[in-house]
């Protein structure tokens, strides 16, 4: 019967296509065997702050078991390090992760990310794997879950149904709710009441102060999203632990610098996002025009997009001066890309942010510290962000000394996560 033939053919077609359609790479097979351990060397080891006097690194059970000056006598296989440079896996201190973001980050050498607002259920899923040092094909994540914002405020425009803060009295409940959803720290959005630029509604200064008090009572860190100098000043005076953006409406004032230093506040400048709004050079120069890189169409498009603002490029100079002044004053500068906002892509933008910080006048050593040791310290990420015994075996192999050339980070020669070499 003809109908039977047609339907049969259709069913067969469905089965064939469904079988042929691409599925995510299966990870377990090739990682399981490599997890027993190995010795890697000879390599030149940069531990995130300085060069160590060791040449061989012994990895067992996903952790750095021992560092050696000479090739040790062990039962473990020896991997030839070819005198490459070994440094800790990078930590991106400002991302928004969902979907395959964590694998995309790992693929570029970012082994841990700090999420500054996302669906708490995503965070909860990956919080389980970060305490183990099992083979895995994704970066570890720490995060705030939902941010704290006003009704209609920044953060509510992305389609996630964020619980919002209505009054000062909500402060304790907001913090408790976030903690119950697994937040590792609290992120709050604040814009001062007299801001003249176009912005979303914001919680009041009194609400911000109440939140900081409540966060301190619950002994949880609280960081603030700000976009201008005055809001930054008020947030720091209110007692937040960190600013997750810098600003470009003016160069940082002496007063704010003093407050930052006195309160030991760290700053994640996210220059790469501002560079996208104001200048748009760095992606073209290092990524888009580099034909040896395999950029997917999606990544390419993200790196070429920018916020629809029309502001003079000179503002970018103000952002650069601010970062330089903050660093010179002793403010800890953490590297965060704010991916996947316009002008950024997960993984790729980490090196861009580092190059921009260096261009702004932060010494390369300090930039590298801000991408490894400092975020691990300020966000209490445990034993990571450093090459040391007992630390997680998250590290990169590079062609060159990263202290002499940050561009070597754009294409790491090898990426190890929990002691297993990442192979896409």
């Amino acid at each position: 019967m003809r109908l039977g033939t047609i339907v049969g053919a259709l069913v067969a077609l469905v089965v064939i296509v469904l079988v042929v359609l691409p599925t995510p790479a299966v990870q377990q097979d090739n990682v399981a065997t490599a997890s027993a351990g190995f010795v890697l060397g000879p390599v030149q080891v940069f531990d995130g702050q300085s060069k160590l006097d060791v040449s061989y690194i012994e990895v067992r059970d996903g952790r750095i078991a021992k560092l050696h000056q000479q090739a040790p006598n062990t039962d473990l296989p020896l991997i030839d390090g070819q005198q490459q440079w070994l440094m800790p896996g990078l930590i991106d201190a400002h991302v928004h992760a969902w979907g395959n973001a964590l694998e995309a980050q790992l693929a570029r050498g970012v082994t841990t990310v700090v999420d500054m607002f996302g669906d708490p259920s995503y965070l909860q899923v990956y919080q389980q794997s970060r305490t183990r040092a099992q083979p895995q094909w994704h970066a570890d994540i720490w995060g705030a879950g939902y941010l704290v914002t006003a009704p209609g405020g920044h953060g509510t425009q992305y389609g996630l149904s964020v619980p919002v803060m209505h009054s000062v009295d909500d402060a304790d409940a907001m913090i408790q709710q976030r903690l119950a959803q697994g937040a590792d720290f609290i992120k709050v959005v604040y814009t001062h009441a007299d801001a003249v630029y176009d912005h979303h509604p914001s919680i009041s200064l009194a609400q911000l102060q109440a939140l900081v008090t409540a966060a301190k009572r619950h002994k949880v860190m609280i960081v603030a999203h700000i976009a201008d100098h005055q809001s930054a000043l008020e947030a720091v005076q209110a007692g937040v632990d960190g600013l997750v953006h810098s600003f470009f409406d003016q160069v940082v004032s002496d007063r704010l610098l003093q407050e930052l230093v006195a309160n030991e506040v760290f700053v994640i400048p996210t220059l790469v996002v501002y560079e996208g709004m104001l200048r748009q050079q760095v992606n073209a120069q290092y990524l888009l025009q580099n034909e040896t890189l395999e950029l997917s169409a999606h990544v390419r498009q993200q790196l070429q997009s920018s916020f629809p603002v029309n502001l003079p490029e000179s503002y970018y100079g103000l952002a650069q001066q601010t970062v330089k002044r903050m660093y010179d004053a002793g403010v800890p500068i953490l590297v965060g890309s704010d991916a996947p906002n316009p002008n950024t892509a997960h993984g790729w933008s980490m090196a861009m942010e580092m190059l921009l910080l260096a261009e702004a006048g932060v010494p390369i050593e300090a930039v590298l510290e801000g991408a490894t040791v400092l975020p691990a310290k300020h966000f209490a990420l445990g034993q990571r962000g450093r090459i040391a015994e007992g630390y997680r075996a998250d590290f990169l192999l590079l062609n060159d000394d990263p202290r002499s050339d940050l561009t070597t980070l754009i294409q790491p020669q090898a990426i190890y996560k929990n002691g297993v070499r990442y192979q896409p």
């Binding site: 019967m1 003809r2 109908l3 047609i6 259709l10 077609l13 469905v14 296509v17 469904l18 042929v20 359609l21 691409p22 599925t23 995510p24 790479a25 969902w98 979907g99 395959n100 669906d119 209609g152 425009q157 992305y158 389609g159 996630l160 149904s161 997917s296 169409a297 999606h298 498009q301 993200q302 997009s305």
Partner: protein
């Protein structure tokens, strides 16, 4: 009894297969549209899987709406529907036949879009996700088939295509199927909550974990209530025609 259903389905499908003027545009439009605006020039941005699923939602609604609205309006105006109702064949066979042929085309559209997404846009989903997505997208065409039926029962055969387009295209756009809701003005989001295309696409987005986070129950309840309402309207209209 089953034979009546089979035969009706067979001849409905055959009549469509003999009408390239129907199936060629119906099959090519979503594929070409997706390839140009989802793959080649994805200005709206977003994750490739999200874009593909959005175009799949758009693609499968088409045959459901058009096949019902235009065919039913035509059958009604030419007296064919009256004849069918006088025959011993149950009207449900007529409905099932129409729905199964629109599903036939929906399946082909889905496979085409999957292949385009998988080959040119780096979409990777687990086998289970591909399967679940197909099931959700096919089952979810029911409310749109009923909507098409209601249009077909009320509009003339000349008006039906225009009315369908007038409903189909804005409904797809305002539910974020072409451009993500996140980049559209806030009031579009509030409109979206009222649209079946929104709830349908959110169910599909849930399969790939990229929905807006409302519960599955809300979307299902909306679609079930809407389907029941449309079925009641269609039933009422049938009674009135008798």
């Amino acid at each position: 009894m089953l034979t009546i259903y089979q035969n009706e389905a067979k001849y409905d499908l055959l009549s469509l297969l003999r009408t390239p003027g129907f199936y060629l545009p119906a099959l090519l439009f979503p594929a070409v549209f997706y390839y140009f605006f989802g793959v080649l020039f994805p200005y709206s941005g977003g994750d490739p899987a999200r874009v593909m699923v959005a175009y799949c939602c758009f693609g499968v609604i088409g045959p459901a709406l058009f096949n019902f609205a235009i065919a039913v309006a035509g059958d009604r105006q030419q007296g064919w529907l009256a004849l069918k109702r006088l025959s011993p064949m149950p009207m449900s066979a007529y409905m099932m036949a129409k729905w199964s042929s629109s599903l036939f085309f929906a399946v082909i559209i889905l496979l085409t879009l999957y292949v385009i997404g998988g080959s040119f846009s780096e979409v990777t989903l687990t086998r289970g996700q591909w399967l679940a997505l197909t099931a959700v997208l096919l089952l979810g065409t029911l409310p749109f088939a009923l909507l098409g039926l209601v249009i077909g029962l009320f509009c003339s055969d000349k008006a039906a295509p225009a009315v369908v387009n007038l409903i189909y295209l804005p409904m797809a756009f305002l539910a974020g199927l072409w451009v993500p809701l996140s980049v559209l003005p806030d009031y579009v989001q509030s409109i979206a909550y009222g649209l079946p295309t929104y709830h349908f696409s959110q169910l599909a987005m849930k399969v790939i974990g990229q929905d807006q986070g409302l519960s599955m129950g809300v979307h299902c309840a909306y679609l079930v209530v809407l389907s029941a309402g449309l079925a009641w309207v269609a039933h009422y209209r049938f009674r009135r025609m008798a």
